[in-house]
Symmetry: C2
Subunit: 436 residues, 2 copies
């Protein structure tokens, strides 16, 4: 039997306390799996007095996470503090620099400093593992890094934020407007008091940047992600989606194109027949399109203390077994600073909802603006969707267009022309379509 693996856990919130309970409850099973006893040697949190329901065990208390990270009594440092700077970053850097492996669930830290931290881990021949940072309990990091090591990935996309998916699900099921569903999500603890990070799409963008690095070997760059949130989605859009065979989801999409890797987060029309469209509530889901396997979808809990803790413990077990591979699959030095495909060049179908003044010629003028730019229309509908009460309001009628694949630039140009023609009463609503 090898030496025990001594663990230090910084951050004793829901996830941290769950990690310590899981390590305690599964101690014998983990010893069988890894060949080593896993011991929580030290812990660190802000408030020493708080009751956390931790199992019995002698654990040294540290007030300073950096001191725990550097402690010669640990082999592995678990960072569950959060935040992309401050104590989280300082402690992870300190741990790696003195030769301790690190497990973290901190997507913000990875999105901002992941490459530098990975390089530090490689230089010190230790592990940096982060399964819990993306999609909680879904083993997507392991799947991309190891399970598809022999395949060529073309596209990774999915529902990576449970708050947004909960809101969209409620809007559809209860026919409630966005603001009511957001308030409900806040009441249930699914959304923060300031929800802009979630509903603005930024949380999804962080996770997408990490997945793109694993899938395509491109350096993490969250600032290269085109981000749109879900605040503009109305009940009318959700009803139209259903009518047209789609469901609206906030997707993160990373895709290989001839121009480079395209990274985008936006509300998306997903075909109702797709596995992703069926994912409701706070559940997350990720689909991988690859050359050999074609399509693989993983559906599971994207958050929650126990699920996230399960992913942290799986990482700890891998490290206990001695698994050491570059954190992002290939050495940091080999990650490409590849060009990012600009969003203006994005090609796809579009859903467009217009509020058109009920005047002769409006219809023909709109269709003409599309035709000028060779935008093919798959369908054009001029009526209210089922369930819509205000069939015409203020002398305008809804017109919904579904386009064949075209580019973002052409759509924007065509709609600018439609607006300046004076036929529409409101800003056009545009939702991209993601085909299977």
């Amino acid at each position: 039997m090898s030496q025990p693996l001594r663990v230090g856990v910084a951050g004793l919130g829901t996830v941290g306390a769950s990690v310590i309970r899981l390590l305690h409850r599964k101690a014998d099973a983990l010893e069988q799996r890894t060949g080593r006893r896993i011991i929580v040697q030290g812990v660190c949190a802000l408030d020493r007095q708080r009751e956390r329901g931790l199992p019995p065990g002698e654990r040294t208390w540290f007030d300073d996470p950096v001191a725990l990270a550097r402690s010669p009594d640990i082999d592995l440092f678990v960072e569950l503090i959060g935040g992309d700077e401050g104590p989280a970053r300082a402690a992870v850097e300190a741990a790696l620099a003195c030769g301790h492996s690190v497990v973290t669930a901190n997507k913000a830290l990875l999105a901002k400093h992941g490459l530098a931290l990975a390089a530090l881990a490689e230089a010190n021949h230790v592990a940096l593992a982060f399964e819990a940072s993306v999609a909680g309990g879904i083993p997507i990091v392991k799947t991309l890094r190891e399970g598809l090591a022999g395949d060529s990935i073309e596209r990774v996309y999915g529902i990576l934020n449970g708050t947004c998916n909960y809101i969209l699900t409620r809007m559809e099921r209860e026919e409630l407007p966005f603001d009511v569903c957001l308030a409900e999500a806040q009441r249930l603890g699914y959304a923060e008091a300031d929800p802009s990070f979630d509903i603005g799409g930024f949380d999804t963008a962080h996770k997408l940047a990490i997945l793109a690095c694993l899938a395509f070997g491109v350096a993490i760059d969250a600032s290269a992600v085109h981000v749109e949130g879900i605040r503009s989605i109305t009940l009318a859009d959700i009803r139209w989606a259903a009518e047209l065979g789609y469901r609206i989801k906030l997707l993160g999409v990373a895709q290989k194109t001839a121009l480079g890797v395209e990274l985008r987060v936006h509300p998306t029309m997903t075909p109702i027949s797709s596995s992703i469209a069926d994912v409701m509530g706070v559940t997350n889901a990720i689909t991988i399109d690859a050359d050999a396997i074609h399509e693989l979808t993983l559906i599971g809990p994207g958050a929650g203390g126990a699920a996230t803790a399960s992913a942290v413990v799986a990482d700890i077990a891998d490290i206990a077994k001695g698994v050491r591979s570059p954190p992002f699959g290939i050495p940091t030095g080999a990650l490409e600073r590849a060009p990012r495909a600009p969003m203006q060049r994005h090609e796809g179908g579009y859903y467009i909802r217009l509020s058109v003044f009920d005047r002769p010629g409006a219809f023909a003028a709109i269709a003409g603006r599309m035709a000028e730019r060779q935008i093919s229309l798959e369908s054009i509908v001029q009526r209210s969707p089922p369930g819509e009460r205000d069939l015409a309001s203020g002398g305008s009628v809804p017109v919904v267009l579904i386009t064949a694949a075209t580019t973002e630039t052409l759509i924007r140009e065509a709609l600018a022309a439609v607006v300046s023609d004076g036929y529409v009463a409101e800003r056009p609503q545009v939702v991209r379509i993601e085909r299977e």
Copy 2:
């Protein structure tokens, strides 16, 4: 840079040729990932002359797989011969015995000799990897063995045979009887000339026995699996399922119960809202219920040369990186010869379709036979389902019962009594219900 990993591939069918092509095409990427060059040093197949479209490369030809398995010029032996005895078994044993790691896609070999082979691998400190043996390109072995190492699994169930799912999908979509869909599956190459191994549920049982070993740490024993195939499923059952909010799937289910691990393969009513119910055609899917993650579902290709080869190459990459854990997650000696829960004690809901003679009192007598055994009925319907043409044939009418949870023994007793009462014209049809 470490020494190259020298691979021998025995069996050059669709999967074997795909493995060699993938290793060639991804050679540089795999070297980045694993830190080693992976070289196919030797190959072996029955017919040396056949054109297989292999990439260029100097590969020593072996006529005897055992000789390749023992060759001092290889480090890792890939077994793609097939069969649970004969050359496949002999070659895998020879490779492990002389200290070569093994990758195999052979579920039949593992279901029969997996424990002995795993023990041999452990004794010789080499790897035995088999991701491709269950559900082709879906990384279910890695997920159970590593990704959920810190969790407690309660149930694993899924669609593990693409042929059966293709047939059930065609029956539903085209409203065609079983035999026509089976013939179509054979014409398309999805089903063998002798389809009994697939449609009888035995292929699913082999895979389920392997998954149960990984999930619960119980010794593999395919003979402990209760197996029923899909031949008895009629169009009427498929229509009733839809009417009642279910879809019929052939599931393999491994579940922890108070009496031990229950292992069963049978046609199953799955709730139409479940992720599994939506999986159509030859696609496979597996859901894992566990304590911490609650529910995780993986959906992807269960077969096909390229998808299976992708799983084989991922295993080779892990071994190249030096990953060595017990083949079934925990040491073979620690696997339990746990009691298996007998099928008679299975508890669940049941769908029962009866063809009842149109006589006074029939309905009351049937309900009485159920009540005698405390079987609660959730619904009882006496009419034809939508689309059913022969509303009553030969003086009998269809009656469909959905029961609340009860035991297999009580259902069998109740139905035996109903039959001996003389009210039914045909053998009752029974399909178990699997709740989410």
